[in-house]
Structure formats: C-alpha cells, structure tokens
Subunit: 128 residues, 4 copies
DNA sequence: GTGGTCTAGACCACT
DNA sequence: GTGGTCTAGACCACG
C-alpha cells in the first residue's frame, strides 16, 4: 500500500476518507475482511490507537463491522454502502456551492469552474 | 453588521471569508478604507487579536494592504482581486472534483449532484 | 436448531441465555440429558471451547450438572430452576427501574415505556 | 463530586451515562458550561483522554457542544434533550422486555416484577 | 488555558 | 492473535 498522509487535517479523518474511497471504488468489496488494526497501523505508519480510532468511527458509520476476536469486515449492506457514497457526494457538492456563493459566484459560474477543473484534470496535472 | 459566527471552524477563517465575499460582491470597493481593527473587532464581537489575524492573513493574500499610520485598505489592483477570486474558485472546484472522483463518480454525476445541491439550497435548509 | 449469533456481546453469554430460556419455556425439561459439548458446538456453529465455557458457567449457576462419564443434565431441582428464573427477572426489573429513575422518570412513566415497548416488539422490529 | 466507577463496563460509557443522567435530572441545565476536560478528568479520577472520549461522544449525540478555545456546554436544544431522554428510556424498556422474554415470562409477569421491584426500592434497600 | 490529536506502551476478554 | 480500552505524557491551533 502506498500511502501519503498529508497536511493539516487529522490523520484519522484522512484514513477514514481513504477507506471510504476504497469501498466506493470497489478496492474493498462488501463482506471482505480487512487487515488487523496493528498491521494496518504499520502499513500506514501511524500509531495503532490512531488506526483504531479511524476504524471504529467508520464502524459507527456502518461502513465496517467487527467480530471481536475474529477480525474486521466491510459491511455487506450494499444499500447502505451506496447511501454513504451519495451522502458524501451531497456533502461535497454542498460545500462547493457554499464556497462559490461566498465568493459571489452564481450557479452557472460555479458550473463553469467545475467543468473547467474536471477537463484539466482529465488530461494533465496542475500542480507538481 | 449582522454576523453569526458558527461553530467548529476557526473564527479568523470565517472572518476572512466574509471579507472575501464582501469584495467579490462589491460591498467593499477597491481602494476603500476599512474600519480600524478595534472597531471591526467590536462589530464582529470577537477578540481584537482574532480580527488582527484575519486581516493580516488577508494582507498576505493581497486582498488588503495597510499604510502604517493611516489605516487599512482594500487593494486597488482589480486584476489581483479577480485573480484571487478565480484562484479560490478553481481550488474549490478542483477539491470538489477530486472528492467526487475518489468516491468513484463520473463528471456527469458530479454535475448532477452539484445541480441538485444548488437547487435545494436555493429553497430551504438541509441540516437542522 | 436455528440460531443466530449476534454481534458484539460475548458468544458464551448468548448461549447461556438460550439455555436459560429453553429451560424456562420447557423446551428442556428438568433432568433431561443434553447433547455432548462437541455436538452442541457443531449445532451452534461455535468453537467447542466456547460451548464448554457456556455450559460450565451454567453449571456454576446450578442450572446444569454433569456426571463425569455419563453426560450433562438439566437440574432436577425445580425449586432451584424457578428461583434462578425469578432471580434473573428481579435483577432485570431492578436494573430497569434504576435506569428510569436516573433519567428522572416516575414509576408510572416507566410502566408506560415498558408497555409501549412490549407492544411494539409484539408486532414489528424497531431497529434494522 | 462523589463518583464511583464500577466494574466491567468501559469507563467512558459510564461517564457518558452519568452526564446523560445529570442533564435528564436537571443537575446540568441547558446551555450551562461544564468544567474543562482536564479538571473533570481529575474529578473522576480518570485519564484526560478517557474523559475527552466520553465528552466527544456525547457531543456526537448532540447532548454537548464545544467552542474550541472557550469551553464545553450543554446543548440548548431542549427538544433534543427530551428526545434523548425518551430514547434512553425506550432502550431500557426494550432491553428489559427482551430479557424477560428470554426468560420465558409474559408481558403481565414482567409488569409484576417491575412493580414489585419499584415498590421495594421505594422503601428500603435490597442490597447492602 | 481551552479543546483536539497523536504516540507509546500496556492490559483485558474472547476464541 | 483479535478488537477494545486505558494511562501517561506530549504537542498544536486558537483566543
């Protein structure tokens, strides 16, 4: 696993994001068993407690469930999985819209910026 | 000024947002002199230190400049103003697009989510 | 035997519950011989150690007794059976009453909540 | 504050219970500021991390909210407060009813046990 | 001084 | 060896 932990936002939140993405993209399949906490902690280069926190928060969200002495698994509830995905998407969309509004842009302008951004990213990279 | 300071996000960032929006919308015009820190602090009901920080970060961005004994002003550089606005917008758009991609959505789906979100917010509130 | 083992509460406790209920309801009669540990373990789909633990705890309670080379039996002491049942029931009732008091509810309100709860459960499910 | 931390159940859950009870009973009033984490930790004789966990979970429930550099407060949302109280009560009632069912008792018998228990507790103490 | 996050290292119950 | 909890002590951003 190649993992880069970034900047200012709490590690456990970043880890949660990564796992959400991995289920959304199918890298983690419903019902699949994930590696033990301690091992994941090593892989990510974080303290086991931090990993534990990330995973147990994901458990509260319903994305994972654990069998105490047996391991931790991705939920089999596909409906929930999709719901979570949509929820995340709505949140992102709303955040974007709020930001654009607070910059004084209209809905149409916000659309333009998005389209432009998606187009650029589709081809090359913007930043190093 | 009616201001509501919300919860968990740093006050100085919220204030910066407000100023950005005010220049974007024209409430603050290029070259206009803004009130002294202490007064603004009182208006916003925040600690002068907090207001000071917000303003000096906006100076770093170039949105404001100060003449030492004379006060603080909105930049006269309209090109810069627009550039800042666009830059923020592009960042927001890109962040949004990244999030959607990492959730496994296509550009079209991302557009749909945005449109839906903007429509809802136009009418009522989503969260309590 | 159709058995669903639920999530977060220790398996051996769940098994103990099941046996208690079976004696209370008459599915297991006083003096009746129960199946050997290994067989029960297979029936329940659990590790023999776990079954062993459940049964030996029930022995400590007096619900079961074993004759070393002969097998394991439900106690013939009906008085004891009833006493155990009542004891458990009183404990549960007391716990419930303590909780309601600590939430600031009266005896009557506690009754109402119980009645409502029992009624609901008679029909459908509350949780997913 | 006289606090007894009991047996086998996680400390942070016990602390959460105590706070829920204190709001339900009115010992903590809506909007009231509570002591800082470190101080509460000392009062309860637990590690600050443990107290932090308890409080932040209560925050997720909505019972508390925090202003990052200012302190932590009981929610002002009285409706929510009542809802939480009812929710707790329903949970307790349901648990009680489940236990009684698993012991093979009828609804009426469960009622009797409860009434008896509440009556006893109304006068003296059962245990030392 | 406030809440929040993190590491390090330990112990526990359960299988 | 699994998940879960806890302590001890540290550092950070914010006001």
């Amino acid at each position: 696993m190649n993992i880069k932990l970034d900047d200012n936002i709490p590690i456990y939140l970043q880890i949660m994001s990564i796992f959400r993405r991995m289920t959304a993209s199918g890298d983690l399949k419903p019902g699949e068993r994930i590696a033990p906490v301690r091992e994941l902690a090593k892989d990510f280069g974080v303290n086991p407690n931090t990993m534990q926190r990330a995973l147990s928060e994901l458990e509260k969200e319903g994305l994972l469930f654990s069998e105490r002495t047996n391991g931790r698994f991705v939920t089999k509830n596909i409906a929930l999985l999709n719901e979570l995905r949509s929820h995340e998407a709505m949140d992102a969309a709303e955040t974007y819209w709020q930001q654009m509004k607070s910059l004084g842009f209209s809905k149409e302008e916000a659309l333009d910026f998005f389209i432009k951004s998606a187009a650029e990213r589709g081809q090359g990279k913007r930043h190093a």
